[in-house]
């Protein structure tokens, strides 16, 4: 997993108020440099700061066996020195100017985030342009960074049950498409990819025509445009990266995986169903289905399994935006002394109910209300604004899709929810992962 905490991963986009959305629609301004690099700008003077979110169309879906995890590793290497600003200088110079940064990689994208006092925009663009145009890949830095990424990988597995079982479920659910491996990659690949792999990756994917930059905060559009032209304009465009043409063959039977971890206090279950990409019309109904199932204490799975039947101590749904068809996840931690089997049966019964009886109108209204308030929560910060605009641009093809989302969610009916539940939440279409303390070996078997 490449994002921050899981809570932040739960898709947030989604709003139902045309008025709120429309107000912002007029405020987003855009331009494109001759080399194809696109900029979206939102002026916002609420604090004397600004940000730059650089979205790159490269993630683990662009990898293949042997270089799994390279997108994420590359994200780390982008901080390890370029032409004007050598090793460590990117961070040192930025922090000395009052700025800070971070970055994340997921299955689809790599995103770099800079947060800074607004008057430092010139310097921020200079730093970014230096590493985009002239990254220096120092063999020594590569070696020490392998250790850092190994540590990032193991601390995730040590502290997060979700992460441990997620790798296994993805591996089983996808046998052809690159969503099969985790974003952090296989341990042996982290240890072995070559310098040339890194050089090729930079040339292919870190081309200006493969990026969208969102700037939000106390800046002026014309100033952003002038500085962007100055710093990023001279960077040459590259040939478009190869399309990812692999289509995961239809799953025609349930797949199951088991993972043993001695310190787990009660079984954890992950259930994943194949679903279409974010650009598919069913995205909106599936997004609402995820909320109906598991957002809030009054959601179906929480109400029934956590509070009424006491089969689970925690349960959530995870339906990430995705460029290619991906998975719709349900994750549950069993209550003490409840078996994985009993918990799984409890979840299935609830899914069955939606497929047979559908959902109430009131549930739909509740979810639409929640999406609206969540949208305002995103809009309360310049970072929330930049991230939301960029996310729509990357996953839905155009940031303006953000402004059509209200109607799209509003159009979803109770029948749509029942239909998508029936279409996708099928046994033959699911992969089930169980993580538990019991060893998967016994005297009656092998």
């Amino acid at each position: 997993m490449k994002s921050t905490k899981f809570g932040a991963l739960l898709f947030f986009i989604a709003l139902c108020n045309p008025l709120g959305a429309m107000a912002m629609k007029d405020e987003v301004q855009s331009f494109q440099l001759k080399n194809g690099m696109k900029f979206l700008v939102l002026e916002d003077r609420s604090i004397p700061n600004a940000n730059a979110y650089l979205f790159w169309r490269v993630g683990s879906r662009n990898e293949y066996p042997g270089i799994t995890g390279l997108s994420h590793f590359f994200e780390h290497m982008m901080f390890n020195g370029a032409k004007k600003y050598g090793p460590k200088e990117f961070d040192r110079v930025m922090e000395a100017a009052g700025g800070s940064n971070n970055a994340y990689t997921n299955e689809n994208l790599t995103v770099y985030t800079d947060w800074f006092p607004a008057e430092q925009l010139d310097l921020m663009f200079e730093l970014e342009a230096d590493r985009i145009a002239h990254l220096a890949i120092d063999p020594q830095m590569v070696e020490s960074e392998r250790g850092v990424v190994m540590s990032e990988r193991s601390t995730g597995l040590e502290n997060s049950n979700f992460r441990a079982i997620w790798e296994e479920v993805k591996g089983a659910a996808f046998r052809a498409h690159p969503y099969s491996w985790s974003v952090i990659g296989h341990e042996s690949d982290i240890a072995n990819w070559s310098l040339q792999d890194l050089v090729d990756y930079h040339k292919t994917y870190y081309a200006p025509n493969n990026a969208v930059v969102v700037v939000a905060g106390d800046v002026e559009f014309e100033q952003v445009k002038a500085l962007a032209t100055k710093h990023f304009g001279p960077i040459p465009a590259q040939q478009q990266p190869r399309e990812i043409h692999t289509v995961e063959p239809e799953q025609k039977g349930e797949r199951r995986v088991y993972l043993h971890k001695a310190s787990v206090s009660s079984p954890n279950i992950m259930m994943a169903f194949h679903v279409p990409s974010a650009s598919h019309p069913d995205y909106y109904a599936l997004s609402m289905l995820a909320d109906i199932l598991a957002t809030g204490k009054t959601s179906r799975l929480q109400q029934t399994l956590v509070f009424d039947k006491e089969l689970a101590s925690n349960i959530f749904a995870y339906f990430p935006e995705s460029i290619d068809p991906n998975l719709f996840y349900l994750y549950a931690v069993a209550a003490p002394n409840v078996s994985a089997q009993t918990l799984e049966q409890g979840i299935i019964e609830e899914l069955q109910k939606i497929k047979q009886e559908g959902v109430a109108q009131e549930e739909l209204v509740k979810i639409k209300n929640r999406k609206l308030v969540d949208f305002y929560r995103e809009m309360a910060t310049i970072n929330g604004k930049a991230n939301t605009i960029g996310t729509y641009e990357m996953y839905f093809g155009d940031y303006r899709a953000l402004f059509n989302a209200p109607q799209a969610f509003d159009k979803v009916t109770a029948d749509d929810i029942k239909r998508v539940a029936t279409t996708y939440l099928r046994k033959a279409n699911r992969t089930v992962g169980v993580l538990a303390a019991q060893e998967d070996s016994n005297e009656n078997d092998l």
Partner: protein, 454 residues
């Protein structure tokens, strides 16, 4: 992800302070006191149609009779009121997209709600009922206990989730600050509904509480509503036992917490910190930024960037009313445990052997000032700041002197800060990891005690 620094710093008690080149100031707020002693803060911010409402009580786990009592009392306030059962209470809030949480830490208990401004009157009524007339239903309490105990067991699956409890226990031995806020399986088992009622009765009193309403509000209207809803909240909080300053450790100790299936070692090394109202609080934060409070900090630079031993290393001060803690923390694979601990200590010693030069100090000063405004951008962040001001008794003077204090720090003063506030002797260490593999190595760092993770 490049680093987990951002989330880590967000969780630290980072200097709430402000004024950035005269451009960024705390929005105006109003403070009133009702006749019954309840303090009301209002702060208007109309950027989005949202309201944040916080009810904070100046009592937390240091006042527990049984570990976990404050925490469970807070949680039980969301299990329904005398007018609405749990399901009805939750439905009303969730139908309009409102979120509500209740929690306790060592010195305060906090109920927070976030919602659309159009629902303000309804939510405020529910919050009032949750605080003044909670249901305290036996059946719901029993179920809460079951769920809560399960989460305590799950907590032991993650070294990061438990290590701070062990560190506080080691550092504050014998002092109320060693209280286990979450409680243990056994202590929670011994807590009955009456214990919650007792805690509520003793401390949820208007003279011990503040109501904070921020965001898209009309302060005048809020004042009237609060008067109407809370004026009849009666009673006075019990007299609090006097809390002494925590004592300073006299021995270098190592607590090894065994997790037999660990694939890495997680450790904290530190000692006494400072109280929240220490006059040098801001200066201490700036110096700590250099040691372990940002990506280019010494600890992260040495352990991560140069040595590749870890994904992240940092240090921080956690401040409370009568004292606090300082600690460095990181994690590394089992085989490099000793190497990482040695390097952390060696880097820490640079504070004295090398000191801080003018360029490094200038960079840290620019950094804390530049990163300051986004910490107080939303009505929720501002509500939490006001709650902290109420609990620890500081006001906007502290806030408004932030940049002045940062600017006045020079290398001489930084040297004084290091000598006064960064613990050098008798450091306390906690390591969570595979004891079989690392016991001999960690024993070289101080007097060893070993426990099992639980």
């Amino acid at each position: 992800m490049k680093t987990i620094f951002k989330t880590l710093i967000a969780s630290a008690a980072f200097a709430p302070a402000l004024l950035w080149a005269g451009e960024f100031t705390l929005p105006a707020y109003e403070k009133h006191q009702l006749d019954n002693g309840l303090t009301l803060y209002t702060l208007e911010q109309h950027e989005v149609p949202l309201v944040d409402l916080v009810l904070v009580v100046k009592s937390g786990a240091v006042l527990d009779d049984k570990p976990g009592q404050a925490k469970l009392t807070a949680a039980s306030l969301l299990l329904g009121t005398q007018a609405l059962d749990k399901a009805a209470f939750e439905s009303k809030l969730e139908f309009v997209g409102a979120t509500i949480t209740a929690d306790a830490d060592l010195e305060s208990s906090i109920l927070s709600a976030s919602f659309a401004s159009k629902d303000q009157a309804m939510v405020m009524q529910l919050v009032r009922d949750a605080i003044l007339t909670p249901a305290f239903d036996q059946d719901e309490f029993d179920k809460l206990k079951q769920r809560y105990t399960a989460t305590l067991m799950q907590k032991t699956e993650s070294p990061k989730a438990v290590i701070k409890d062990y560190f506080n226990d080691l550092l504050f031995q014998g002092h109320a600050y060693s209280a286990l806020v979450d409680g243990s399986k056994d202590s929670v088992e011994s807590i009955g509904l009456q214990d919650l009622k007792d805690f509520h009765q003793a401390w949820f009193r208007p003279d011990n509480a503040a109501l904070i309403v921020t965001g898209d509000i009309d302060s005048k209207k809020i004042k009237q509503q609060v008067q109407a809803l809370f004026a009849n909240w009666q009673g006075q909080a019990k007299q609090k036992p006097l809390l002494a300053k925590p004592s300073t450790p006299t021995k270098t100790k190592v607590l090894l917490v065994d997790k037999p299936d660990a694939i890495e070692s997680t450790f904290m090394i530190g000692g006494p910190g400072v109280d929240r109202n220490n006059p040098d609080y801001v200066a201490i934060q700036v110096v700590n930024t250099i040691l372990g409070g940002r990506f280019t900090s010494w600890l992260n630079d040495e352990l991560r960037v140069n040595a590749g031993l870890t994904y992240g290393a940092r240090s921080q001060f956690d401040s409370l009313g009568m004292g606090g803690s300082f600690y460095m923390s990181t994690f590394t694979k089992t085989e490099t445990t000793k190497e990482a601990m040695e390097l952390a200590l060696k880097t820490y010693n640079k504070l004295w052997s090398q000191g801080i030069d003018a360029a490094t100090l200038a960079s840290a000063k620019a950094y804390v000032k530049g990163q300051f405004p986004p910490k107080y951008e939303t009505s929720g962040q501002l509500a939490n700041l006001l709650a902290e001001m109420f609990v620890y008794g500081f006001d906007e003077n502290f806030i408004n002197s932030f940049s002045v204090k940062v600017n006045s720090l020079n290398t001489e003063k930084a040297k004084d800060i290091i000598h006064h506030y960064f613990p050098r002797e008798n450091l306390q260490t906690v390591v969570v990891g595979k004891a079989d593999a690392i016991k001999d190595a960690v024993a070289t760092f101080g007097e060893l005690e070993q426990r099992s993770i639980q």
